[in-house]
């Protein structure tokens, strides 16, 4: 005779079946809603430091083209560069320095155009608990300093600035992009961080700035280019022109970026 549990599904089996059926139902519903009417999309890969101005330009662009969905991919420029080199579907790429753009030159259509400049500054938590007064204080072992890793533009600029001033930085951590550095200051985990002046402005009153006069000698130029694989090159070029045009200039200036 067969054991009892082979004859009739037990309660456990029945329960498992019910869970499976429910899961499948949920998945089907999700899949159905995800496959809505097809719209046009424009994938814009932009340096993390461009988060605020590009968010505003995204809205402007979508207002002008009601059928287009602009998708921003914001990360460290080098991360974006590797993604593009590996075939990520970028239509437009805006990098925080020229060397990352040069690395992906083969994937871009035409010459990249410079659209903004930015410079480093020291961000400290409100009240400046470690009493940082200038770039030289960052060499002090008692100050917890956070910078970008040298592979990303803000880290490359930090290294350049350290060399220019003859300062030996002793960072507690090297972060993946400039917004990670800023977050460490906003949450008060670090005493000082090297970020762009625009990031201090974007953080509102959550961090304070200790100006670095020497930073004017290590300025980052931001290039933008249309990808050679852009699905709709005209649309991508239009976004680039928006960034480089009057509206882009205004938004970038408001965020604290310098003229190209």
């Amino acid at each position: 005779m067969r054991p009892a549990n082979l004859r009739r599904p037990g309660t456990q089996v029945r329960r498992a079946r019910r869970v499976c059926a429910a899961t499948v139902a949920v998945l089907l519903t999700v899949a159905a809603t995800a496959c809505g009417p097809e719209g046009r999309t424009l994938n814009v890969f932009a340096a993390a430091s461009l988060t605020e101005p590009f968010g505003e330009l995204e809205r402007t662009f979508e207002q002008r083209h009601s059928d287009v969905d602009v998708r921003l991919n914001l990360a460290g420029s080098s991360t974006l560069g590797s993604q593009i080199a590996e075939g990520a579907p970028a239509d437009v790429f805006a990098s925080a320095n020229e060397s990352v753009m040069a690395d992906v030159a083969a994937d871009m259509a035409g010459e990249p155009a410079s659209f903004a400049t930015n410079r480093l500054t020291i961000a400290v938590p409100r009240g400046n608990p470690a009493g940082v007064e200038g770039f030289g204080d960052l060499a002090d072992g008692g100050v917890t300093v956070v910078v970008c890793q040298p592979q990303v533009p803000c880290g490359a600029a930090a290294r350049r600035l350290a060399e220019l001033t003859g300062t030996t930085l002793r960072p507690a951590s090297e972060e993946q992009d400039v917004k990670d550095v800023l977050n460490k200051i906003v949450t008060g985990e670090a005493d000082a961080g090297l970020v762009y002046t625009t990031d201090v402005r974007a953080a509102g009153g959550k961090v304070e700035e200790v100006p670095v006069p020497e930073a004017s000698r290590a300025v980052n130029r931001y290039p933008i280019a249309v990808s050679a694989r852009a699905a709709e090159p005209e649309l991508a070029a239009e976004f680039r022109d928006l960034v480089r045009g009057e509206e882009g200039r205004r938004v970038l200036k408001k965020a604290g970026f310098g003229a190209p």
């Binding site: 991360t79 090297e174 972060e175 993946q176 949450t187």
Partner: protein, 276 residues
């Protein structure tokens, strides 16, 4: 461990010779599942720049990341055992309404995205977290950005693996031997030492391997809670991520190293996994 508990009738001499046969439909999803695991590794192998491999793997950054990874994963595995074994025993043996709730809480790191775990640790042990603030003021100790933070993050994500495998073994094994030992006059500590722990050893082995492997691969909680600095907090996975931004070949080489380490760990600690 679970395979020890064989239902009556199955696996007996009568049925062992006859193979009930596999339904052929299982082969299709099974092959797909296997491809999903194997093909990405093949992709990695194809992509590897073998001429530069020795040079990439012996760079200072790679070696210090490997050393840091092995040391921290070992330390966190030890912490997992020291704290996790008692927790598993308590969860499996203690009675009361609260135990079910505690069991669910212990499993939290399994389902939580590691980044969230890292943030949670930061809000507890960071400078402005309540415990971190206390440590800073009372003892002058700051946890984030230290190797200790890496070990804590790894322990946080790896411990549930150990606890789950041990607890499963404890529940499956039942309490018969412990009861017998107790009726023969053994005190609770003696029962734990002489009966419970020896019975647990096989499950402990697989639990240790699982949690070591998980600690070795830890990324999200570490980068969020401990930051990323060569030699201090930048473990192998973090180094892979850092390199992926600039030198993909180097990232691939390091990833390969991580795979080799993982395979070696499994081979050394669980040779049975390759037998059957």
């Amino acid at each position: 461990m679970a395979s020890r508990v064989v239902p009556l009738g199955f696996g007996s001499r009568r049925t062992r010779g006859r193979n009930p046969g596999l339904p052929w439909v299982l082969w299709i999803p099974a092959c797909l599942a296997l491809a999903l695991v194997v093909l990405p590794v093949v992709g990695l192998l194809v992509r590897t720049d073998y001429t530069r491999l020795p040079q990439l793997l012996t760079s200072d950054a790679a070696l210090s990341a490997l050393r840091l990874s092995l040391v921290t994963a070992l330390l966190s595995t030890i912490v997992c055992v020291v704290l996790g074994v008692p927790l598993a025993v308590v969860l499996a043996r203690a009675r009361g309404r609260g135990v079910r709730l505690v069991r669910a809480v212990v499993l939290l790191p399994l389902v939580l995205p590691p980044v969230v775990g890292g943030l949670a640790l930061l809000f507890l042990l960071g400078r402005n977290g309540f415990l971190g603030y206390l440590l800073d003021v009372v003892a002058g100790v700051s946890v984030p950005f230290t190797t200790t933070a890496v070990v804590i993050a790894q322990t946080f994500v790896a411990m549930p693996f150990l606890v789950v495998s041990l607890e499963g073994a404890l529940r499956g094994g039942g309490q018969r031997y412990e009861l017998v030992a107790a009726t023969l006059g053994a005190r609770p500590w003696t029962v734990f030492r002489r009966v419970t722990v020896p019975l647990l050893l096989p499950a402990l082995g697989s639990g240790v391997v699982l949690s070591f492997a998980r600690a070795l691969g830890e990324f999200g909680a570490t980068i969020t809670f401990a930051g990323s600095l060569e030699g201090v907090t930048r473990t192998l996975p973090l180094e892979v991520y850092a390199q992926a931004q600039a030198d993909v070949d180097s990232a691939v080489a390091l990833a390969l190293l991580l795979i080799v380490v993982a395979v070696v760990v499994i081979a050394v600690a669980r040779p049975k996994a390759f037998d059957r």
